[in-house]
Symmetry: C2
Subunit: 213 residues, 2 copies
């Protein structure tokens, strides 16, 4: 590998993917330019060209990047073409929303197992999956060699579930519970803290409209 892609660059790639995908759907153009992407996303155009140099794609001066090729190279680089099978634990409101969401397909994510501890939920059909007993978690993960675990249980159970997942050889965890998981092993943790992200809004509003003190 020549040079590792910087984290901020990696974070921008899915945005390019989104733009180029909708560009291909709406327009009938073969090429897309960095300045077009720049306008859509408010990102410096030289920044975009530099980002695209990390993935294996070349553009044509005066013309742009081949849009289809760009889309596919991005998808490949981001792993969307891989089959990413995941199991999900905690089939509550949020877990159900994720399980039934069709939009993950184009990112290669396929949720293939649902688990809960609530007897009322076990056996129910969600999406087209039957909710399984949490006790079968390790067994199923191992049997189907699942690499991705999604946690949508209340925060206080998240740590123990993460540990169970890891014992069963999960490689990455998508954690929606508002806790910082304490993990030693070399597991990839992606925390999705919605309430935390709301802070940007509340802080912004506080800044711009200071209440009288």
């Amino acid at each position: 590998m020549v040079k590792k892609i910087p984290k901020p660059s990696l974070a921008r790639l899915p945005k390019y993917y989104q733009v180029v995908t909708s560009y291909l759907n709406r327009k009938n153009e073969k090429y897309i330019s960095s300045s077009y992407l720049s306008d859509c996303l408010n990102i410096d155009d030289s920044q975009i060209r530099r980002d695209l140099m990390y993935i294996e794609i070349g553009g044509i001066p005066r013309v742009g990047y081949d849009a289809k090729e760009l889309r596919d190279v991005l998808a490949d680089y981001l792993g969307y073409f891989n089959l990413n099978e995941a199991i999900l634990v905690g089939v509550g409101n949020l877990g159900t929303a994720l399980a039934e969401y069709k939009g993950f397909e184009r990112y290669g994510l396929s949720i293939v197992g649902l688990f809960d501890s609530d007897p009322e939920k076990i056996g129910n059909l969600v999406g087209n999956l039957k909710v399984d007993n949490i006790e079968n978690l390790e067994q199923v993960i191992k049997k189907f060699n699942i690499k991705i675990g999604i946690i949508t249980t209340p925060a206080r159970y998240a740590q123990q579930i993460a540990e169970k997942m890891i014992k069963a050889n999960i490689k990455a965890i998508w954690n929606f519970a508002p806790v910082t998981l304490d993990i030693d092993e070399d597991i990839f943790i992606q925390d999705e803290n919605l309430a935390e992200n709301f802070s940007f809004i509340s802080h912004y509003l506080k800044e711009t409209e200071p209440e009288k003190e």
Copy 2:
């Protein structure tokens, strides 16, 4: 204002809030140190001290920061003590999950109105709110002077709904639809692109387990 807080620092503050809050719940200690926070969050301790200098809090050498004070200063700085009333448009799976979620309360977020265009949904009770007709959106926002709009409709309606919200004087939008909203006005947009964040996982798995080509 002496110096504006850098974006990455602001993004870390909610994490400190989370840790200090659970620290206060679990332990009976008056003080918390930057090295403790550092251990919990894997963030350099001098980084943490620097971040905390942006908000108005002083620590005591050899002792640490007053934990209760730190929690409250963070909460205040992030606007959690303000009443942040929001309306939500698109009462589907995700919208329902957000509307029924109790955890937002401690961040000052209160969802006070739900809107949908589907006649089957209008009139339903979700959480303890009745789903209102999308046609009443502008009127309600204006009447109650709502500042925050949450979008959980399919992506293709997001732009028009954002425009309606802005016409009614919304100041910040929390957008869960996977599109980049095209907005001229000075409105704060917080995009929450879950599928995009999944990319970090799929890219990581691709990197670490390269399939034979």
